[in-house]
């Protein structure tokens, strides 16, 4: 009997582990003192310090979720929530510490910046170490900077929008984020400004037994448009690392935002991230998401369609292997007339990996003549892998169209035979099926991530006689 082994994504690049060096690493655990110390280190205004302390109270008052993956492996007493890298924020790669710069070089960030991006932010552990944007965007009034700079330089904007879209009460890990957030990007696109070339922020967590809590706040004003790309990765350690970022997106009337993510955390990462968008009248919000890493992922981007004619699309793929439990999905609330949502979610599980698609579609009573179409497909590559679909549909008006289609499948022997009869080996055949399965999503991913996706779809296959 011939067995086929499909290799994991080649992680060599991501697993580059720099020495756990830093300028400052806060002691492990979570307390009022720790939160105050982070705030003091950041030299931030008192309103932000007070906000953090309030969030800590909320964190302490909330319980862990009673659904989804088991989070008992997380012990906050073992996590350092703030690690300041040994380099200062700069707008020139030459000024970035060499080890850190080398890491981003290997991840291809400076090169992508030259070729295909209008601006780049790079975060290493808890702080952004590099941030830069093309001059012409600055002239048009676009702001793209790290979150700390935004707090100090644009306090009115930050006060108006920071954790208003995702309030700290949403769930325990949002409250945690509110208390210890650090780094992330702030983007402001003024009215009617079209940013044709994408901006990209890359988040790298190098330190072990640490957490990353970056905050991304994007405001796309009326009639403006933007494509924002977020990438993240970390080397693998034996102990649990935590990522509890927060992404808040404001897509104003007639605006357009595409938010693309390639998440490639190491398999000791708990990825408990929160992302939400508020979408205005005739505006459009597109989510593109590739989730390949993490030990546990609980990630459900959400669009709130608040304006008449608002639209949203979600295109996502998850790939889970041994020891991975990826609980991903999408949430949408239709909260105005003539709104529409389109979901295309895919997952691949192999070698005992688990993928769950968990979703919410809510069409409120006022969302007359709205449409929602959800399609989720799962592919299991063997008998020990798991795939599940848990949709919640809450449709409160009769005047709406809703469809949900779920397919869970395995690669059929008939299909393999068909492809083998065309000269392909069993491995070639399986790789072709997987590549085809992923294609609808992979074609939506940013070009600069093609290499990364190819690592997945040009699966390294190896035959073994067993």
């Amino acid at each position: 009997m011939k067995k086929t082994k499909i290799e994991d994504i080649n992680r060599n690049i991501y697993d580059i582990k720099n020495k756990d060096e830093y300028e400052f690493k806060i002691k492990k655990g979570l307390s009022k003192d720790i939160v105050e110390e982070i705030s003091a280190k950041k030299n931030e205004p008192s309103w932000m310090r007070d906000f953090r302390l309030k969030a800590l109270d909320v964190y302490n008052s909330l319980k862990l979720p009673t659904w989804g993956p088991d989070l008992s492996c997380l012990n906050m007493d073992e996590i350092a929530t703030y690690v300041k890298p040994k380099t200062k924020l700069s707008n020139s790669w030459d000024d970035v510490d060499e080890d850190i710069k080398n890491t981003f070089d290997k991840l291809g960030i400076p090169e992508a910046e030259k070729k295909s991006l209008a601006g780049v932010g790079a975060q290493y552990d808890s702080e952004v170490v590099y941030h830069s944007m093309k001059e012409e965007l600055k002239k048009q009034g676009v702001i793209y900077t790290d979150m700390e700079t935004a707090v100090n330089e644009y306090p009115e904007l930050v006060k108006k929008y920071f954790m208003k879209c995702v309030p700290v009460y949403d769930h325990k890990f949002v409250a945690l984020h509110g208390a210890v957030w650090s780094g992330g990007s702030f983007v402001y696109v003024p009215k009617n400004v079209k940013v044709d070339i994408p901006l990209q922020s890359y988040f790298r967590l190098n330190s072990k037994e640490a957490g990353q809590f970056e905050h991304t706040l994007i405001i796309v004003e009326e009639g403006a448009s933007l494509h924002f790309i977020e990438g993240c990765s970390a080397p693998k350690y034996n102990k649990v690392n935590l990522h509890a970022g927060c992404v808040e997106l404001y897509v104003k009337d007639n605006a357009y935002l595409r938010y693309s993510t390639i998440e490639n955390w190491s398999k000791n990462m708990l990825n408990l991230n929160t992302k939400k968008a508020i979408v205005g009248k005739n505006a459009k919000m597109e989510w593109v998401s590739g989730s390949f890493g993490s030990k546990i992922s609980m990630l459900y981007p959400m669009s709130i369609l608040d304006g008449e004619g608002a639209q949203t699309e979600y295109t996502g793929i998850s790939f889970a292997s041994t020891g991975q439990n990826l609980d991903n999905g999408f949430k949408v609330v239709h909260n105005a007339k003539n709104t529409s949502s389109l979901v295309n979610a895919k997952s691949i599980s192999k070698n005992g990996g688990k993928c769950t698609y968990r979703s919410l579609v809510r069409i409120n009573e006022n969302a007359k003549n709205s449409k929602s179409s959800v399609s989720c497909e799962s592919l299991m590559l063997d008998d020990i892998s798991i795939s599940d679909t848990i949709p919640t549909n809450d449709i409160r008006t009769d005047d709406a169209q809703f469809s949900h289609e779920a397919k869970i499948g395995k690669i059929s022997d008939k299909t393999i035979f068909y492809l083998m009869s065309r000269g392909m080996t069993e491995e070639d055949a399986k790789a072709m099926i997987v590549r085809g399965f992923a294609y609808e999503v992979s074609k939506e991913l940013p070009v600069e991530y093609a290499v990364e996706m190819n690592n997945l779809i040009n699966l390294e296959l190896e035959g073994a006689i067993g």
């Binding site: 035979f417 083998m420 065309r422 080996t425 069993e426 070639d428 072709m432 590549r435 085809g436 399965f437």
Partner: protein, 254 residues
């Protein structure tokens, strides 16, 4: 003397533990077109699958020699690379892989050579014109949402592109209208030369009207019970298989 391309010797094959083929013997020479006819369940598709060694069928006895090599126990892809092609009765759908990319990839695997893009495209356009295929289909996912006729034509297209030594056409004509059958016949004529061979598996005779067939074999209950020239197909068209069935039935009852 003509050169032997395929020899099936005393082949016994089981599917789901049930004995389907019960001692098949068949020789196909280069340059010939053979037809296997027979009622439903007689083992026609099993014969095709056995030649390509589909793991869902198990060979109990006998051997298959192709181009002077024993291919009885080779894997399906190895057999395909030696030059055996099968047009499927129900072609599989492959979402996300375009017809063009599929064909290029398969051609590369079959020939073990890089495919020259420009030449490949010219050939492809030529074949598609002959098969009256919509060029737009080339960008579509393989067989996904194709009509029955489109799928069958696509199989013939693959045959032309991959250019095997032996093409086995399993019920390629079934479910097709007269015009589509003519197109398929045309494809077979384009493919056919004195160095290759075709084995057509069918249970009706329409496709035989427009092709010059060398031999017709009648398969009933896992055995070839008659072999003759294409005249035999005409007899079947008029009288059906009852004559052979009776023989078999009687022997079973005895």
């Amino acid at each position: 003397m003509s050169e032997k391309l395929l020899q099936i010797k005393n082949l016994y094959v089981n599917a789901d533990k049930k004995e389907i083929l019960k001692g098949i013997n068949l020789t196909i020479n280069k340059g010939e077109i053979h037809v296997i006819m027979g009622p439903n369940g007689s083992g026609k598709t099993t014969t095709a699958n056995a030649i390509l060694n589909n793991p869902a069928y198990s060979k109990k006895k006998g051997s298959i020699i192709f181009d002077s090599q024993d291919i009885t126990n080779l894997s399906t892809d190895e057999i395909a690379r030696k030059g055996v092609f099968m047009s499927f009765q129900m072609p599989e759908e492959i979402p996300g892989i375009s017809v063009t990319n599929f064909l290029k990839y398969a051609k590369n695997k079959i020939t073990s050579k890089p495919v020259k893009a420009a030449e490949f495209k010219i050939d492809l356009m030529k074949y598609m014109r002959e098969l009256k295929m919509n060029p737009k289909n080339m960008a579509r996912s393989l067989n996904v949402g194709f009509s029955g006729g489109e799928k069958k034509k696509n199989e013939i297209l693959q045959m032309l592109v991959l250019n095997p030594k032996l093409a086995i056409l399993d019920e390629t004509d079934s479910g097709l209208d007269v015009d589509a059958i003519k197109t398929v016949s045309k494809g077979i004529e384009m493919f056919k030369n004195d160095q290759n061979a075709v084995l057509i598996i069918t249970h009706n005779t329409k496709i035989l009207h427009s092709l010059k067939v060398d031999y017709v074999h009648i398969l009933v209950d896992g055995k070839i019970v008659d072999t003759s020239t294409s005249e035999l197909a005409k007899t079947i068209e008029e009288e059906g298989y009852s004559k052979y069935k009776k023989e078999v039935d009687t022997s079973e009852e005895d």
